[in-house]
């Protein structure tokens, strides 16, 4: 059962999985559906790359473990959500976009239109030249200006 999973954080700031028999090992949490279902199906993978435990639902964990896990995930997950597109350098790719994200303003270089991936409607995933994935949760909910800019690339 999932609630037998205990997670801790060691002095290196790493996530440690405590097995029912008390053995400890360092693990990396990996979400199986980071976009579609971020809170379900989280694998705990040890440094050898083997999966040592499976969390079916994050809500199954004890509050303490869950807090440690979420803190760990929040420092390793990086998918800025685009809230506004301020400007784009050109409508032909490669194009540099100035965007406001939930992690502050930044710029991204879009190498080609095919780097905009249509996820389950109305979400879009934009991979920039650095390999960062930017998420647009609802392309129809953006402000008119951003929508107009985005439309030119879709």
């Amino acid at each position: 059962m999932t609630h037998t999973i205990t997670l801790e954080r060691n002095s290196f700031g790493q996530l440690v999985f405590v097995a029912p028999d008390g053995t400890r090992q360092q693990v990396n949490p990996v979400r199986s559906f980071p976009i579609a279902a971020p809170t379900e199906g989280i694998g705990l993978v040890n440094t050898e790359g083997e999966e040592v435990a499976w969390i079916t639902r994050i809500t199954d964990l004890s509050p303490a473990s869950r807090e440690v896990l979420e803190a760990d995930l929040s420092t390793r997950e990086f998918m800025p959500v685009i809230e506004r597109i301020r400007s784009v350098s050109s409508f032909a790719t490669p194009s540099t976009w100035e965007v406001d994200t939930d992690r502050g303003p930044t710029s991204l270089v879009l190498k080609g239109e095919e780097d905009i991936r249509r996820l389950v409607r109305p979400a879009l995933l934009i991979a920039d030249s650095r390999g960062i994935n930017f998420l647009i949760r609802d392309r129809y909910a953006l402000d008119a200006h951003s929508k107009k800019m985005l439309d030119r690339f879709l």
Binding site: G13, R76, F78, T93, E114, G131, N133, R152
Partner: protein, 775 residues
């Protein structure tokens, strides 16, 4: 302060040993203020994220005495003096990398940044390690090695002065004046184009004669006749003859101009298509990996066709129209300036209308194009995969997918047509209104006796043509936009710089013996690090087996050695020369590749074997086929070496296809041979045949083989075990078995599986219905 550019930075004494990307100007004063008098800055990392992963600038700097990191909360530096056991640990995941300063007991500090800064971070970590060792041992640190790339610290390939890894990152968006760029393709046909233009000028002039002749016909023949003057038949004959002659001249000139210009534009289109395809062939596998076949096909096929059509017909018509309007305007003004002025009034209005709609239509047509390639992509996806579609009975779903793409197509088209449909009638309306104005004003002038009826008739004849041309001219908006959109998509391909660029100053290979050296090779695809720090030196004639779980980076390493991709860090050298400094085709000529899924082109077997050496003699082809153990089965085919294979050709088994691809590799006699899972797609018996064929191939060549079945690699001189992008073990089979490490575990796992099969063989596991059938 910001005028201080990097040369000054390096000239300052505190920066004399500095390596890597320069400290940003904004951080220089703060860093300089923190330095002790004799302290030197060795490397730095300008962060673009903070610890909570917000986009925010920060700095980590390594000095000769300590590591400095800016703390956003206290607005001051956090300083870490060198201590025993300190390590800068570098990690990356999902687009962010981290650098953690740890010692034996705990994490001391940590920084986050995007992968764009990864090379700089590696530089910082490497120099930190070196400096720490020196300081702890009390040694004087060795001066940094010169001649490295200023951005990523990778050694510069000899003969070039810019780093191929970093130069690739420059992103220049193509200009929006795309259509003008077609001039590059038009230039060779300058002569024809000029001739065409002169003919256009003349033929347009000829078409303007008839309305002019209506004036005397009206004023000097018809009106006087109405007033009782008899018809001057000689004059009538002259005028009618003039009309007919003008029509004949216009006809012949029009024919000549259309023919010449169509000829030229068809050639421009062909050149465009060929150049695009040629450029496409030069692009790296990375480009093809990211594109859909259907999309590329439509770009090269349909888009170039559209551009040709635009150049040969639409643009020509437009030019004719513009000429006609200018000439007509000149004639009208010469006859009666006032009436001419009134006639020309609607012109600016229509011009404005065209301009207003232009922008919206252009986006629309670009979108239509993209949606259209979506439709073709569905086809390109499902038709090759039709067996899977049918096997899983998903025809309905694929039809729905196609329907969805078509619905999307309809939606976008509807939106464009909404604007477009208003446009044409509006122009027609403007035309009618214009005619009305001319009639009204003309009648007033006639009544006023300032013009004759003939002049008014001529005016009306002229402008009714004139306005109909305006109507068709308005169509040029959409044609131009469509052609511009097409040109943009073509130039998207043409502007794409291969990520496997040809060297600026190529170095030629000496006689290739087959020595390959990988130095600190790293490779990243998107945000996944696939290889890191791979050091491997391969001797001429040596056989190397690459071993590891799937996803451990074996195929990537081989692709890097073939230079299908370029390394992200480090370098691969052949005969001591960086492969990036050697012309791509010269380098590849030395490589023979046998893939898991051999691809045969449509053509005869002989053509397929001679693919890498089209001028091979029949004897050479046969001896290559013999060596590849393919000769016998080829002779059994009805047409021998002339049998057609490939798509729509003779069906060959996997092992037969593989032996043809081995013969293909044998024929070019490469010094370096790469076998990427060459035998894993076939059964054991076929594998033995292929193995026998491979023996001939391997002899005397440097061979790099990837095989899932470890037993096939027994002959390898050395086995290289990869795990998650790093080399974990190197040695021959016996040594590695003795070591009982990663290879031992892999081998055990496989033999155990084989044993299981062997035990199971006593009682074969047969599906129940088969058992029944056997009974």
């Amino acid at each position: 302060m910001n005028s201080e550019s990097s040369p000054h930075v390096h000239a300052a004494p505190a920066y004399s040993d500095y390596l890597g990307p320069a400290v940003p100007d904004a951080w220089r004063p703060r860093l300089d203020a923190a330095l002790a008098p004799d302290e030197k800055v060795l490397a730095s990392l300008a962060l673009d994220l903070d610890t909570r992963l917000q986009f925010r600038s920060g700095l980590v700097a390594l000095t000769s005495k300590r590591l400095l990191g800016w703390d956003h909360e206290t607005q001051d530096w956090r300083s870490w003096e060198f201590r025993d056991g300190m390590v800068l640990r570098h990690r990356d995941q999902a687009g962010v990398a981290s650098l953690d300063l740890i010692d034996a007991t705990a994490k001391l500090d940590g920084w986050r940044f995007t992968l764009a800064l990864d090379p700089a971070a590696h530089n910082l970590a490497d120099r930190f390690k070196a400096q720490l060792e020196c300081v702890l041992a009390g040694r004087q640190p060795a001066p940094p090695e010169p001649l490295t790339c200023p951005t990523c610290d990778a050694p510069l390939p000899p003969g070039t002065d810019e780093c191929p890894t970093c130069a690739r990152e420059i992103h220049t968006p193509p200009s929006t004046w795309t259509l003008l760029r077609l001039w590059r393709f038009a230039r060779p046909y300058k002569g024809q184009l000029l001739a065409g233009f002169i003919l256009t000028l003349l033929s347009t002039g000829a078409t303007l004669v008839p309305p002019y002749l209506t004036m005397p016909l009206m004023d000097e023949v018809l009106i006087p006749f109405q007033n009782g003057v008899p018809i001057d038949s000689h004059k009538v004959m002259m005028l009618l003859g003039g009309l007919f002659a003008a029509a004949l001249v216009a006809w012949s000139l029009g024919w000549a101009k259309t023919y010449i210009l169509a000829l030229a534009s068809e050639r421009i289109g062909a050149d465009l298509r060929i150049t695009t395809y040629e450029h496409l062939q030069g692009l790296s596998l990375e480009y093809f990996g990211g594109k859909r076949t259907g999309d590329l096909m439509s770009r090269i096929g349909a888009e170039t066709d559209r551009i040709t059509l635009f150049l040969s017909l639409q643009l020509l018509d437009f030019a004719t129209d513009v000429l006609m309007i200018t000439m007509t305007a000149a004639i009208l003004i010469s006859i009666n300036p006032w009436l001419a002025l009134v006639t020309l009034v609607p012109l600016p209005f229509i011009a404005w209308l065209i301009h207003a709609v232009r922008d919206r239509l252009r986006y629309g047509f670009e979108q239509v194009d993209r949606v259209w390639s979506e439709v073709t992509s569905v086809l390109a996806d499902t038709i090759p995969g039709i067996r899977v579609v049918k096997a899983f009975a998903q025809e309905k779903r694929e039809v729905n997918r196609f329907k969805d793409a078509n619905m999307h197509n309809l939606q976008v088209n509807d939106r464009v047509n909404r604007i477009w449909s208003v446009f044409s009638p509006t122009v027609t309306l403007a035309t009618e209104v214009g005619l009305l104005i001319v009639w009204g004003f003309g009648i007033w002038l006639v009544a006023d006796k300032s013009i004759t009826v003939g002049v008014l008739t001529a005016f009306l004849t002229y402008i009714s043509r004139f306005y109909t041309r305006l109507d068709s001219m308005s169509r040029i908006v959409s044609f131009t936009q469509k052609a511009a959109a097409g040109a943009k998509r073509i130039f998207d391909i043409l502007d794409h710089v291969s990520s496997v660029p040809e060297p600026a100053k190529p170095q030629h290979l000496p006689a290739v013996t087959g020595a390959i050296e990988c130095r600190k090779v790293g490779f990243r695809h998107g945000n996944r690090t696939i290889l890191r720090g791979v050091d491997l030196s391969i001797q001429p004639g040596e056989m190397i087996g690459l071993v590891g779980h799937s996803g451990s980076g074996k195929s990537t390493l081989v692709n890097l050695i073939c230079r299908f991709y370029d390394v992200t860090d480090g370098s691969i050298r052949i005969e001591g020369i960086d492969v990036r400094a050697v012309p791509v085709s010269e380098y590849r000529r030395n490589i023979g590749l046998v893939l898991q899924e051999p691809f045969l082109f449509f053509g005869t077997i002989a053509e397929n074997i001679a693919y890498g050496k089209p001028d091979a003699t029949r004897d050479e082809i046969i001896s290559a086929a013999r060596a590849a153990h393919a000769h016998d089965f080829i002779m059994r085919l009805p047409h021998g070496y002339d049998s057609l294979v490939g798509e729509r050709g003779q069906a060959l088994s996997g092992g037969e296809r593989q032996r043809i691809s081995i013969a293909r590799a044998l024929l070019i006699d490469p010094r370096i041979l790469i076998l990427d899972e060459a035998t894993s797609a076939v059964d054991t018996e076929t594998e033995m045949e292929i193995q026998a064929a491979l023996e001939n191939l391997i002899r005397g060549r440097t061979t790099i083989a990837i095989a899932h079945r470890l037993s096939t690699l027994r002959k390898a001189d050395r086995l290289v075990v990869l795990d998650r992008g790093q080399i974990v073990e190197i040695g021959n089979h016996d040594a590695l078995m003795e070591k009982q490490g990663a290879y031992f575990r892999l081998y055990e796992a496989q033999t155990r599986k084989l044993d299981d099969v062997a035990i199971g063989a006593d009682k074969p596991i047969v599906p129940p219905h088969r058992e029944h059938a056997n009974a």
